[in-house]
């Protein structure tokens, strides 16, 4: 964690005076709407402000410094800003103006900000109050992380893909023409990785590469730092990343399909004939093909074995008072033993007791807690892997100490929520908005609510949070996750109970949508659970489970046994047998 140093603010203010600005705004993000930007892009905000969390605006004025962030980060922001001149502006909290209200009320125009980092809609909002200039103060940084230079690798073996890149390009171009476009600019990195059947190493946990992709009838052009490429990409013209501006300016009058919700304001401004619409690759990518599904199930088995080894490790070391970090490291070791494993798909959340009640907590080597069975009930483990063949995201909550009746009740409720949605049937046309309450109703009946979606889409060796499918009971700003849920989509289900200062419980599986049946009334879909890892039955209060729910759990564990027993033997097979044994009242 970089500590705040006052001189940086004065540098910024000198620059503001030079450029004639009343205020300078730094956002969190990158030019490609990535969820987790590379350090190169994230560093500017951190250079000026000590806050380390996500979803923040930093606003610097001649005499003030302000940080807007949301409720997930109020506590950490307060501690990180302490001693600085920054004022915390709590989003969605009475008494705090929004960024826009603040700009208007204080007439902070002309305002400077980097148009590469914001959407056209956000820029339009900023412009309501006055002039906004396209500028960046990143050059003030004494040292900046290098522009990401990870190597790109092929993922175009036919065994990994249902469609070749040529087939994908053709399918996309047909959709582009249907929408009235003659060309298409793809700006989001996961879409580019999907369409090119390539993967990269530019962002930790996420196998994508910084680039733009342009498609038209004359072919495909990829804008990327050439050093990242050790091979030719058949059927793709390659140009330097920074060439995109001139390339687009030369074609600005071509009707170009572009998703202005995902592209940055700078790139959009280069084109004079934008056909605004969702990128066809979004939905194509979300609906996994047969080969992809086969690969995903295979790597889910490999991932399940790592979790089984972890369960065995936990049982053996419970009394040793290891730290959360020790457990996260142990899990990472077991994952690395798996075939086709590349890296983790996000920073492992190994959290015990009150840490687990904080949804965005993850231990580090420096900051973590001891998991002591004497005073801790549970260990919550939320983790996943990137494999040559898919991406996983699984949560299990393990009993490590003594469960109170309240804990047992809440743990059982979480499982009931999981089962309710996992065994849902829904008609063609249903979206995540409609499906969500099937899981949440069980919580709401008892006055509980987890403050997140019930689930999100999962990529295929790609981002672990993938659009446009998800389960969420109401729209959330910036979340494009309410698509119709259709066969081939993979969505997590992750209900939980979080009691501040006490404990956190979450159980998470990945659900593949599959056809259920067709009747006179329509076409119906259901879910197939494709996460194969034992669920801890020791904290269950069986009196709260119906016969159907117990049957579901026993069926699930039988499937886990069937899937994992192929891969293990000896002691581990015994562990698997024990952990997947049917339960009875």
């Amino acid at each position: 964690m970089v500590k705040f140093e006052l001189p940086h603010l004065e540098e910024a203010r000198a620059e503001m005076r030079k450029e004639g600005l009343k205020a300078y705004l730094v956002v969190t993000g990158d030019p490609h709407d990535s969820e987790e930007p590379a350090a190169y892009f994230a560093s500017e905000r951190r250079y000026f402000c000590p806050f380390t969390g996500d979803n923040a605006f930093v606003l610097l004025t001649e005499s003030g410094a302000y940080l807007w962030t949301d409720g997930r980060f109020f506590i950490s922001a307060e501690s990180e800003l302490a001693g600085s001149s920054f004022k915390l502006m709590k989003m969605g909290t009475p008494g705090y103006p929004t960024l826009n209200e603040f700009l208007l009320e204080n007439s902070l125009y002309p305002l400077g900000t980097d148009f590469n980092m914001i959407s056209p809609a956000f820029l339009a909002l900023l412009k309501r109050g006055g002039e906004v200039k396209d500028t960046s103060f990143a050059h003030l940084m004494e040292s900046r992380p290098e522009f990401p230079s990870g190597k790109v690798y092929r993922f175009d073996d036919p065994k990994y893909n249902d469609l070749t890149r040529e087939q994908k390009f053709a399918k996309v171009m047909a959709a582009v023409k249907g929408a009235g476009g003659k060309a298409h600019l793809i700006t989001t990195l996961d879409d580019i990785a999907y369409l090119t059947n390539l993967r990269g190493n530019d962002i930790p946990y996420t196998p994508v590469f910084y680039s733009y992709l342009y498609l038209d009838d004359s072919g495909a052009t990829l804008f990327i730092d050439k050093e990242k490429l050790d091979f030719e990409i058949e059927g793709v013209n390659v140009l330097p990343y920074e060439e995109i501006d001139n390339f687009l300016l030369a074609r600005k009058d071509v009707p170009t399909l572009l998703d202005t919700n995902k592209a940055n304001a700078h790139i959009v401004s280069l084109l004079a004939n934008v056909v605004d619409g969702r990128m066809p690759s979004r939905l194509m990518k979300a609906v996994k093909g047969e080969k992809e599904i086969r690969n995903i199930k295979a790597i889910q088995e490999i991932d399940g074995v790592a979790l089984l080894k972890f369960i065995d490790f936990l049982d053996a070391h419970k009394e040793e008072k290891l730290t959360e970090w020790d457990y996260a490291e142990a899990l990472a070791k077991f994952r690395r033993q798996g075939q086709r494993f590349l890296e983790e798909s996000f920073m492992t959340i190994a959290a015990s007791g009150s840490n687990a009640a904080m949804m965005h907590y993850a231990p580090t080597a420096e900051v973590n807690s001891v998991v002591d069975p004497e005073n801790t009930v549970e260990l919550l483990l939320d983790s996943g892997g990137q494999y040559l063949g898919g991406t996983t995201d699984t949560t299990r909550t393990f009993l490590v100490g003594k469960a109170s009746d309240e804990f047992k009740h809440d743990y059982t409720l979480t499982l009931k929520s999981l089962i309710a949605l996992s065994s849902a049937i829904f008609i063609r046309g249903s979206t995540g908005r409609c499906i969500d309450m099937t899981s949440r109703q069980i919580m709401w009946k008892e006055g509980l609510d987890y403050k997140c979606g019930t689930g999100h889409g999962v990529g295929y060796l790609s981002v672990v949070h993938e659009s446009p499918n998800g389960f969420r009971y109401r729209a959330a700003a910036g979340k494009d996750d309410d698509a119709e849920n259709v066969p081939g989509m993979i969505t997590t289900i992750e209900p939980g109970v979080y009691k501040q200062g006490k404990y956190g419980i979450r159980i998470e599986n990945n659900l593949l949508t599959v056809p259920a049946f067709v009747t006179d009334d329509g076409e119906f879909y259901k879910f197939e659970t494709i996460t194969y890892a034992p669920i801890d039955v020791s904290p269950l209060d069986l009196s709260l489970l119906s016969d159907e729910e117990i049957a579901w759990l026993n069926d699930y564990h039988a499937e886990v046994y069937r899937r994992l027993s192929k891969h293990v033997s000896g002691h581990l097979l015994e562990v698997l047998k024990a952990k997947t044994a049917p339960i009875h009242r």
Copy 2:
């Protein structure tokens, strides 16, 4: 039913030539976005086309005549258009172009249509293909129903309203100013009735009056045919209905809040400074106040007594092979015996056997079926009343013949769906989209689906279908019914099973949203059922009901007894007792 006469089409074509039009479009509706327009407005379409159903476009060209309508009306349209030169264009059906595609493909421009009858968005869509002229051929009609001239009556006794019209105006104007407006034009008749605390008689079943209402700081102006008013309205300036155009033109530069989704294209075009947004009265009206709720519960009891009398009547006459129309008439008679009753809130659906499977069937004196216990299982009765104190909408399905196992199963499923949603708990912020599946899931699990929303908002001596609350699992074109469901709203719940050619089952109650509890995780709401009418228990398959569901039904019937027993005695009290007796396995 007026039979189609060819000369009308030729008159229209002559007019088209005179005006230089390639085509003329007649829509279904009125200038106020009313669900059921008065005959004056509905008559033009019927003058040119023999179709009598809802939701239709009639397009006339030099050599052709076309009717677009949706799937609910395909069968009746085919029979009504038989023998005419009209071609049925099936909405949402492969092989049939949309109206817009048809206009474009055949270059049917200039196109003429009445801008008073369409929304600005629809006009913009039409204009994509070429010039659209504002014209009406209604003057060609030899005789046209008179412009509605029903008398307006006061509903402003404090016992009926939580707010006076002055308070409502003030509240609305505060919201108008918050939205950046200085004036507000209210175009929808139910909003005008609500805001003025007046009611009218211009549309059958719906106690509203044709008018516009204009609010600004200088006061309120109502545009209405003065003959409708036998009294002065305190605090409201009254001008003739047709004065609205000149009045608005004189104020066209005043920032005026207007809902362009609800206002017609003509009226919107008069204003040069529209602040587009939802009318504040929409939500105010949907959230019923304390007095309103008290009145509604009182008239629901009166309505319940009418239904109880009907149940007794049905039991006594089952073997007499009465017609559906006879039953509808009997119910109307029982309603008229009730205090505070004014009229029915919609045309009673009394449908048996396969008729009940058609959602939009309603018997008439001329067209109806005999309810014969020998070959009919059920009588579905969907009806409601307008009372001085509220509006009701209730459906019960009664066993009149012999129930097959399939019927029992489907009937029980319908009740289970009703109970599931009626006993739901949901967090503040939940909308109908999220809540809907709680009811529908039970149907979907068995491959069944009712092809309508699970429920709609209900007015207060107003429209029986009220925005903006409802239960619907996905957005439906033109339906503004996905508001957050909050305490004070009244929404129907009406799941059902419809088997073509066999039977239709529906059970419908009105649900009042009330607070449930507040916990660390949020504020939760629940429903209170405020329809008080026995549910037929004779077709239930008790083996399909859980103990909780049986308890819910017994509790509900105990409440019905408590509510209705105050109003009846003697034989009817005995009937009530029998029909609300607890059931046991």
